[in-house]
Symmetry: C2
Subunit: 346 residues, 2 copies
Amino acid sequence: MVTDRGLQVLRAIVQDFVDTREPVGSKAIVERHAFGVSAATIRNDMALLEDEELIAAPHTSSGRVPTDKGYRVFVDHLAEVRPLSPAQRTAISAFLDGPGDLDDVLVRTVRALTQLTGQVAIVQYPSFARATVSHVELVQLGGGRMLVILVTDTGRVSQRLAFVHDEFDENDLARVRGDVSVLLVGRPVREGAQRVEERLAQPDASPSPREAAIVAIIRVVAEELEEFRQDRLVMAGAATLARSESDFRGSIYPLLEAIEEQVTLMKLMSEMVADDHGLAASIGRENEPFGLGEASVVASEYDATGARARVGVLGPMRMDYPTNFAAVRAVARYLTRMLDEDETAR
Amino acid sequence: MVTDRGLQVLRAIVQDFVDTREPVGSKAIVERHAFGVSAATIRNDMALLEDEELIAAPHTSSGRVPTDKGYRVFVDHLAEVRPLSPAQRTAISAFLDGPGDLDDVLVRTVRALTQLTGQVAIVQYPSFARATVSHVELVQLGGGRMLVILVTDTGRVSQRLAFVHDEFDENDLARVRGDVSVLLVGRPVREGAQRVEERLAQPDASPSPREAAIVAIIRVVAEELEEFRQDRLVMAGAATLARSESDFRGSIYPLLEAIEEQVTLMKLMSEMVADDHGLAASIGRENEPFGLGEASVVASEYDATGARARVGVLGPMRMDYPTNFAAVRAVARYLTRMLDEDETAR
DNA sequence: AATTGGCACTCAGAACAGGTGAGTGCCAGA
DNA sequence: TCTGGCACTCACCTGTTCTGAGTGCCAATT
């Protein structure tokens, strides 16, 4: 039932409200936007928009504020992603260019993104579930402590401590390493995890020190592989929440908690549904299941050596969606290009 | 000029204010504390305390609030650290007991501490400057990427990527590793750093691929050792700041920023002056140089394999110092014991 | 059928006034 | 040195009024 102009009015309301933080009234709209009709006409349109629950009035005699649904329509139909300014582009390169391992690059990515958008920036580690293990390294630390290092072809390195209660000489160590390597090297993480489980299920063939060590090592490998499955996040800009605090009816506690938890945000990011361009937004109440009913997330997919993951921003529902879409998309593209360059250099 | 009873009054004011968040008046004091004198007498004492700038009145006809100086006197002379309840002790063990590498233990430590105190918990990594390098490991990842892994006797493991533009076979790799190891293994990090610098200053004797690789590797080792010097922090409980937000006149922005920065907090923690028991507090304006003039930090030293570091909590000036002292001290002791156990098992 | 000007109405928020009470400072007497 | 008493201050609560931004609705216009 909402007319075409009605939608333009919705757009105006969203834009002005994001700008001013104030509920926007019919008169303000005719002043700031060239609709060529009177305030009364706008009012009629606004009444319709309110019927459709796209906007709402905080109290009877006040301007209107977009609802969750209103923002949703805005991002789906009304917001064109405008390209970044040259200045912003150079800012991205300034942050991201230069060598560095995966950790480095991702940290710089979130810094750039929080700078660009003024929101909390989040990036998922590329999924390692499909990565393959390329190296297993064992280092004896003394006192029966054995450092187990796993390296994947995507460049992720992780270490863990195993307790083996014995010392090994070079030869034995090499053999233990060989036994463990056979299970993992060159195989996708998921498959490796399965083989490790099978191995653990076997009864101890021989209760030799070497066998005991192998079991201990495999056990921590299993733990580590489990962590590979639930990937991690890198974040920056939590402090910006204090700035936009007034946008949250309640406190920013749930947001800070989610940032510390990571798990929640991880799930949220993973479950977002992307459009054809890999862009996705999750708005207000849509985040209720995660305890973030007053926040929005804008994210984009990026590509790291074939593994897809997401990068995005988290902020108040009242955020500048077009700008954030643009920033997130630009950073995602840059990131993809960087990690692919890395790949070609391999 | 302040009498002995005057100090007791100060103590009462601090305690009640921490309890109630309300400025406390003379009448409230005689009601809640058994001073055996009248409100008028208390008023006289309060006037003296105000002269000494230990307390202040938000406005003329209102109760008093402790000043920074007042809190300082309180923690220095009036607060007895009361031991934790058995329930709290078991809570600590529940969190901390169990195996795990250094990272693990420290993460669990801050979780326990934030749980116990309701404040932001912080722990410094034990200083690695005096640690010795016990292993150097090189792993070729293909594409000229070489993973350099350093392990110290304190259990810290770190990795970094070097780009070497050549592939090596097992023998060459072993020789390169040997050359690098000679510089570092068995030596304190500080000394190793120096030898690395010297090596870099040498003109390339022979421009062989191996020499080039060694230089590239040594370069990233130098970077890594530099990072050893500026140790890191582990934190938890940032979300609790949202709860005690009203205790900060300004916003919690500076706090969140400091938490993200880490460097600031690192310095602050390092510069705190401990008493005989290794306990230290830094209160309100004393933190002004770090931009945290409205916050307090309570910290305790702990011992990890001979390397001293600190563990503490960060919160509003209006915090429960005795409880926090007790919690921080208990956790520090537990931590010391755990890391020493680890040591004896070596 | 869509648009418009006009108008009555609503209601949050500011401005003001009066009352209350918690709290103070001070002083004279115990 | 302590105490009761007393005048005084001032934040805060309450109630009242006023204002203005903004609405909803309707009859007239295009």
